[in-house]
Amino acid sequence: MINKVVSGAEEAIKDISDGVTIMLGGFGLCGIPENCINALVNKQVKNLTCISNNAGVDDFGIGLMLKQRQVKKMISSYVGENAEFERQLLSGELEVDLIPQGTLATRCLAAGYGMPAIFTPAGVGTEVAEGKEVRNFDGKDYLMEYAFDADFAIVKAWKGDTAGNLIFRSTSRNFNPVMAMAGKITIAEVEELVEAGELDPDYIHTPGIYVHRIFQGKDYEKRIEQRTVRKSEV
């Protein structure tokens, strides 16, 4: 079995340099690769293009990279939780490509499946369609959207093994499996790293072929954006 294990976040991102395109898994703050984001913040690489559904919050997640102006361009579907992001966007300091969430996910999927483009009805007749090829199938219009081309994908999983196989937990799965498939180099940080053979092959979400580097992360904060609860039943 090919061993994919690296020592930690610093080693995992060692060749991420200025100007590259990075995918980052997660939905909101759920399932984000906290260790690698912190390492990117410490490394202070700049002019990055980041593909991620959201942009973190002001003081956590990708928000930390935005604050340091490390991001040149952000490709996301929803950025409403980040005031600094909105400020940089409205002032023109940050280039932003807002795209429908399903389009974002499926452009990742296409990259991982070796398909150059997809057709989706999302955005037909809106400003998202500007400059894009429209094709009609069975009387309905679809936009042609290209597969992403990302230098790196950084994902967070619950468990992983030394061969790079990944298992995600609950809704922290979100974009992580499709981004894992889509990077030229994919880095996975996991809460628990085990030896190859310890995970049941039938329950692997992402096969290790898609993962190039894996390490066990530490000190996960797992911040909750909206803590909603109900009263305990007496």
Partner: protein, 219 residues
């Protein structure tokens, strides 16, 4: 005039046994509280969950288990988890029976705008464009007029569009309306105590009134 809760309650009456339903953020989220007793409905959350349960009990929140509004939630017996591509795959393939979402503006030909105010608010469309482009049945929950008293039911949307010719039903604090295939807001029901004239005043787009318009009932 209906409160947000009452709008949600009225919309809940449209949900049928066996439906898979996607609820947007805001008033649509409240619909979950009013799903009629005795019917089986599965809520889809587009971040990758079918079978969304209620909020967790205090102390049982799980940071890994949230809905599309980033709220902590729970699963139910029969729930399933999947990735974002599959989530929008089932939406695009029309496996989801009903989508309920909010809007800033709706036009009389069924266009919807709910994601951007140029130069002012740029939050992004999230999953809204995918949902409106693919859903076979969409109900919009919205305020009939804005804070300045201007109608949000228009001849033509002024804000950047989310989707084109996709909305068929609207529930507001004043009325229940259908958007006809040939265009126009057809008034179906009015909120208790609200006159047809009042609704006419609050509707900038073409309002179609035929015969007696009954009051909305929540029971």
């Amino acid at each position: 005039m209906f409160s947000k809760e009452e709008i949600a309650q009225r919309i809940a009456k449209e949900i049928k046994d066996g439906y898979y339903v996607n609820l947007g953020i805001g008033i649509p989220t409240l619909v979950a509280n009013y799903i009629p007793k005795g019917i089986n409905v599965v809520l889809q959350s587009e971040n990758g969950l079918l079978g969304m349960g209620p909020f967790p009990f205090e102390g049982e929140e799980d940071a890994d288990l949230i809905n599309a509004g980033k709220q902590t939630i729970t699963t139910l017996p029969g729930s399933s988890i999947f990735d974002s591509a599959m989530s929008f795959g089932m939406i695009r393939a029309q496996k989801v029976d009903l989508t309920i979402l909010g809007a800033m503006e709706v036009s009389e030909n069924g266009d919807i705008a709910n994601w951007k105010i140029p130069g002012k608010m740029v939050k992004g469309m999230g999953g809204a464009m995918d949902l409106v482009a693919s859903a076979k049945n969409i109900i919009v929950a919205m305020q009939h007029v804005n804070k300045a008293g201007e109608s949000k039911l228009l001849p033509k949307c002024t804000l950047p569009l989310t989707g084109v010719k996709c909305i068929k039903k609207i529930v507001t604090e004043l009325a229940v309306l259908d958007i006809l295939p040939e265009g126009g807001f057809k008034l179906l029901e009015r909120a208790p105590g609200v006159s047809v004239d009042f609704i006419q005043q609050a509707t900038a787009g073409r309002l179609i009134v035929e015969g007696e318009i009954p009051e909305m009932r929540l029971d």
